[in-house]
């Protein structure tokens, strides 16, 4: 949907770009974690999977598009060979590769990879945890599928693990460890524009607000490092060579990935941003924060100035709620879903 059409919708008297739909109830409330909502569209079966993390449990709900069928599943972080207390989960995310979809769950103890419906665990990677407790918390956070066969996962040490994934089966192997960050990884994202040829494949963000831009391959190559301002970048996206980053200051910044040139800066929210998402076909951007607001923006590439512009389209306020996850449900941005701390529902909005 072009920006002009969107604005036309807004100008119609009394109308709003999106309206609220019936929420999906989930078995537990959402925890206050960054990017705490993931969605996977299964077009052939006309349903969408959602995942929401609650402490040491991943709530999965499968929602049919006709709104009639919901089925629930819970994954507990029961790691093999871990005898003692259960482990808190930092993030759960779907990884879509050409050959298969997988669900990756990261926790304090390690990384679990499941089939996308959560039915079988296909791989487990234990974190290197020292015997005695150090002053630094240890966990994995930041998940992204990259190109045809990689899944990248960040660690609190700043390292990024690169896993090579076969087109089927469980023979996943650790193929590389990237050292681009000194602080805890917060989020990672791969280029989502699809068809177009892009130089950069992956962007990673850390607790200092630093961004690393990578090219994938047998050996990943660091293309660029964009320094931060000592404020966490909690959520990051990569679209048509543009990095979109959300920070603890409530700011959103747009950078040209390969050069680090700042295109735009938005004082978007009054509190920490927890989630960003992009609808790649339309260039719609979703931002959500602890200030209880979800905002919809539109990104436009302007080839003449070799720049990217951002325009505001819409706000939604989730009363008394610190939002922790927001995702578009489809590549056009026709619908989006939201989770909030202590809320046991996935709130949905659809374009009017």
């Amino acid at each position: 949907m072009a920006a002009d059409d969107a604005k036309a919708v807004l100008l119609r008297e009394g109308s709003s770009m999106y309206h609220k739909e019936k929420s999906i109830q989930i078995k537990n409330s959402a925890s206050a974690l960054y990017n705490n909502l993931c969605a996977l569209r299964i077009a052939p079966r006309r349903l969408t999977y959602f995942t929401v993390v609650h402490a040491n449990v991943v709530n999965m709900v499968s929602a049919s598009w006709d709104g009639l069928n919901y089925s629930h599943r819970q994954l507990q972080s029961k790691e093999p060979n871990v005898a003692t207390s259960t482990s808190l989960i930092m993030q759960a995310a779907f990884c879509s590769l050409p050959s298969r979809d997988l669900l990756v769950v990261t926790s304090q103890k390690g990384i679990q990879v499941y089939e996308s419906d959560g039915s079988i665990m296909v791989y487990w990677h234990a974190l290197d945890i020292p015997e005695t407790q150090t002053a630094q918390a240890m966990f994995a956070r930041g998940i992204s599928a990259v190109r045809d066969s990689y899944i990248c996962v960040g660690i609190s040490t700043g390292a990024i693990l690169v896993f090579d994934v076969p087109s089927k089966g469980s023979n996943i192997t650790l193929s590389d460890v990237l050292e681009g960050h000194k602080e805890s990884i917060t989020d990672m994202a791969s280029e989502c524009c699809g068809g177009e040829v892009c130089i950069a494949d992956l962007v990673s963000a850390d607790d200092g607000g630093n961004l690393c831009v990578w090219k994938s391959g047998e050996e990943f190559k660091l293309l660029n490092h964009i320094p931060g301002f000592d404020i966490s970048c909690s959520s990051v996206k990569l679209w048509k060579g543009t990095v979109v980053a959300g920070y603890g200051t409530g700011q959103i910044r747009l950078y040209e990935a390969v050069t680090g040139i700042l295109h735009a800066e938005v004082n978007a929210h009054a509190r920490w941003i927890y989630s960003l998402d992009i609808a790649p076909y339309s260039g719609l951007l979703l931002s959500a924060a602890e200030d209880s607001l979800v905002r919809v923006w539109h990104l436009t590439m302007t080839p003449e100035s070799q720049s990217v512009e951002i325009a505001h389209l819409h706000n939604e306020c989730v009363t008394d709620t610190q939002i922790c996850g927001a995702k578009f449900c489809d590549a056009d941005g026709y619908a989006f879903a939201v989770t909030g701390y202590d809320l046991s529902e996935i709130i949905r909005y659809t374009q009017s």
Partner: protein, 376 residues
């Protein structure tokens, strides 16, 4: 997750506990000597070097059950005795107050200012006892030393760990409902208005730059809220104006009756998660048992001399029972004057179903009382 939560948890929860105890001791006309002694003993135990050193070791946050056990032991470091029902209700209040503070904390780093607000007030409580004041100062210095080096991202992780700890707790507290900080559904009020936290810009501005970094355009967008510029930053030193009010004694100025402190559980919510289950059999994870042992061991457990009399306090009723205390009771609930007697009857009436007479209440034993409180 964060391995730095325990010291802040104990200081803040302990602080809330002391606020409530102080107010109730006053409301029950406890002698100033007894009040001061109770507070001094608890603060002394909580801020003892050994106990704090144990807390300051990097470690995970444990269950409510463990924390409640340690806090009960801390409360009983004084000559005061709380029955189980009182301690349970007290814990609910403490936790909901701290949850409120953590939830509304403007920036993650401000968790320290909330903690320092508690420490400042605690210091006031024990100001007549230099030995204890020193302990408080020493602890405060250690906290400053350790937490000053944490980055904002570490504080957010700490805050997220605490929020998981408080998750799904929506106990409605009468005082919070009255002050409109909590809604009837148990959720805290969060308004998209007011001053933005220090270091954050008021939302609404979009700035665009050219390839050379020059600003070429700016625009505004409607924020859907009414935000104002930030207030100044609070002081993170040993003494100073903390600026934010979260963590200050919200019970000051109110005559705390049991009604204010009454709590109402919400309708049953989805099954409690592993971390919240207090009704789990005595299968505390091995690490928790170790921590519990270490913490209890590090507390100064002065044996009560035979001659000294302790006193029992009912925080949430003003019943006249509890004669059979272990230590020979100083009955602090004996109120002589008529006004107090009337108030007693009124308060007792609030806990009765269908207008039971206060006399009936006072003759019932502990179990009936507990059952009655559960019906609230």
């Amino acid at each position: 997750m964060s391995v730095r939560t325990l010291p802040l948890v104990f200081i803040n929860l302990g602080g809330e506990m002391l606020y409530i105890l102080d107010q109730r001791l006053q409301a029950l006309n406890t002698s100033e000597d007894n009040s001061e002694k109770v507070l001094n003993d608890i603060v002394g135990a909580m801020f003892s070097k050994d106990f704090m050193d144990e807390l300051l070791k990097p470690q995970q946050l444990y269950s409510h059950r463990t924390l409640k056990t340690v806090l009960t032991r801390l409360a009983h470091a004084s000559i005061m005795r709380l029955n189980q029902a009182s301690m349970d209700k007290l814990y609910e209040l403490m936790v909901m107050a701290f949850k409120y503070q953590v939830f509304l904390c403007p920036r993650p780093k401000d968790l320290l200012l909330i903690t320092y607000n508690h420490i400042d007030t605690i210091r006031e409580f024990v100001r007549h006892t230099p030995v204890v004041v020193n302990q408080v100062d020493e602890t405060h210095r250690k906290i400053i030393e350790i937490y000053s080096s944490l980055a904002e991202g570490d504080f957010q992780l700490l805050r997220q760990t605490l929020l998981i700890f408080f998750q799904d707790m929506h106990i409605r507290v009468s005082l919070f409902l009255k002050n409109k900080v909590q809604n009837p559904n148990g959720r805290f009020a969060l308004s998209p208005s007011g001053p933005v936290p220090h270091g954050i810009d008021v939302p609404g501005l979009i700035r665009m730059f050219d390839r050379k970094g020059r600003e070429v355009r700016r625009g505004e967008f409607p924020t859907g809220g009414s935000y104002t510029s930030p207030i100044r930053q609070g002081c993170f030193a040993l003494h100073g104006n903390r600026v934010i009010t979260l963590g200050m004694n919200m019970y000051v100025g109110t005559v705390l009756t049991p009604h204010h402190l009454s709590t109402h559980a919400c309708t049953p919510s989805p099954p409690a998660i592993l971390l919240q289950k207090d009704d789990a059999p005595n299968l505390l994870a091995k690490e928790e048992l170790n921590l519990l042992a270490r913490l209890m061991g590090s507390m100064k457990a002065e044996d009560m001399p035979e001659t000294e009399t302790g006193f029992r306090i009912n925080l949430f009723t003003s019943d006249q029972e509890e004669e059979d205390c272990l230590f020979g009771v100083i009955n602090i609930q004996a109120m002589q004057d008529e006004q107090a007697a009337t108030q007693l009857a009124r308060i007792a009436g609030q806990f009765a179903e269908g207008g039971e007479m206060p006399e009936e209440l006072s003759s019932s034993k502990g179990d009936d009382l507990l059952a009655m409180m559960d019906e609230l």
